[in-house]
Symmetry: C2
Subunit: 297 residues, 2 copies
């Protein structure tokens, strides 16, 4: 019996999408500053606002965020903290910047939420502020998709980020993360905390209904971050089913350990055509090796 | 009656200093990487290790740290979370890297520790991972010392950091914070998380027995950070009695709000002789205005 195409499409979709507000708030503020000549001038600085997440009317956490995509952030936070296994568990996320609150209504409540939020891990610097314990224990259950990161794909990604950033009128002091599908920029997120940026991407990705397109030829999902590859960034990438991460910055020891353990291709120091592959170089296909640099000749 | 000098000296000292281990561990690891030519080479990456803090045998939190000064970090963490009001409450801090644990023994226990660690605020990116609520409420009780930040002092500090960093064989991917006394570098701390770096400085500062030397002429204590001036960095500086903060990076909206509220002189974008004073410019004495730059003439 041949499967009905409409049935396949339906099976791919989450049965129930959560209802979300689309709350917005100014992302920058113009402020007056004094420079080294004692002159007064104005600059833009990024917003940093508190967003208290309530789950079924119970206060869970307060996130400090730029506030660009608070609903995706909230969903991604719940997913990455493993408080929900799927967005289908969420009926709605209502963000109200007047009271700086994100109210999450679940369909069936979150089992043992008190107990599951009791253990605290304060992760590294730009990492997620607070990860409710046990994430490391779950690592071995993660199966990343097959496929390679092509060098040409890596260069296309680094270039796309370069162009993207040059169009951003920077107020400075924000981190950027991005999710690529193949070589195409799918989502670019900036936040005052990059743990928020990666959580926002996780929330957005969970809402997408497209099937996974990873293949042996080229990885479909690649994560980019301006920040360091700490353990947390690598763990969260793996949790999103992302098998390759690229950073402009470096990697920490534990980030490297996790990348090795889950088989994730970790690339850092990526600028122009230069990069360093820290973990799983067999997943990197060198299809675009640059000509030797003049200084190397 | 004239006070006995020895009594004065004794009064300045904390009556009881905690006992501390001096646990050390390698701060970097040499790893093999592959570059864009497919060549294998080696680089150093920073350590990132978990340190679980136990207070009177109760698990409190797990910090991800470079691990340079785990005992000061633990003390500073307890202070900055307002779990202790003074290091005198601590009898000992025993760090054992074999089990990645910091065991804190208090003299009288920590009152209502369960309740006080229940509220979670996940602060901005490179900010402290988890601040147990209510810090903002305490802001209005902070009285910062009088005194000005001299422009010449600011330049001396920026230059000292420049020299310091050039001597550091960087493994990259660490944040640096420093505490200056006048123009003198008192403590330079690097960590994979800069919230750890500032907590470490707070712990170290609390152990010092010198009287405060802030005067109207020049501020004695100035805090420097390579990272952004988020609300958390400004709050923690104020909690340390530091009235001026300098950053190579910018400031966030809430960082600015807090600096204005507590009367702290916040300076960012400080490189060479350039800087921007974001808050309380009246606390900045322009005693070393540079000659107009050629491009400005």
């Amino acid at each position: 019996m041949t499967a009905d195409p409409s049935t396949i499409a339906a099976a791919r979709k989450p049965m129930r999408q959560p209802l979300l507000t689309v709350a917005s708030a100014p992302l920058t503020e113009q402020v007056e500053v004094r420079n080294e000549y004692g002159e007064s001038t104005t600059v833009h600085i990024p917003a940093e606002r508190d967003l208290t997440v309530y789950v079924d009317k119970r206060e869970l956490v307060t996130l400090m965020t730029l506030g660009a995509h608070p609903e995706w952030l909230t969903l991604g936070y719940l997913l990455n903290q493993r408080l929900i296994a799927s967005i289908e568990e969420v009926e709605s996320v209502t963000v109200d910047w007047d009271v700086n609150a994100a109210s999450v209504k679940t369909r069936k409540g979150i089992d043992r939420i008190e107990e599951r939020t009791a253990r605290r891990v304060v992760t590294t610097g730009c990492g997620q502020g607070s990860v409710f314990g046990g994430l490391m224990d779950e690592l071995d259950r993660i199966e990343l998709p097959e496929g390679v990161l092509r060098q040409s794909q890596l260069y296309a990604i680094v270039n796309a980020i370069r162009l993207k950033e040059s169009t951003y009128k920077s107020a400075g002091s924000v981190h950027a993360c991005a999710l690529f599908r193949g070589t195409e920029l799918a989502l670019f997120v900036e936040d005052v905390g990059r743990h928020n940026a990666v959580d926002t991407i996780a929330g957005w990705l969970a809402l997408q209904q497209e099937p996974v397109r990873d293949s042996g030829d080229m990885l479909d999902k690649v994560f980019y971050t301006t920040g360091r590859l700490t353990s947390e960034m690598v763990i969260k990438s793996a949790q999103m089913g992302v098998a390759a991460v690229i950073s402009r910055s470096g990697i920490t020891q534990m980030g490297l350990q996790v990348a090795r353990r889950v088989g994730l291709c970790a690339v850092g120091r990526a600028t122009n055509r230069h990069f360093l592959c820290y973990a799983n170089p067999q997943r990197l296909m060198l299809d675009d090796i640059p000509p030797p640099a003049p200084a190397r000749a």
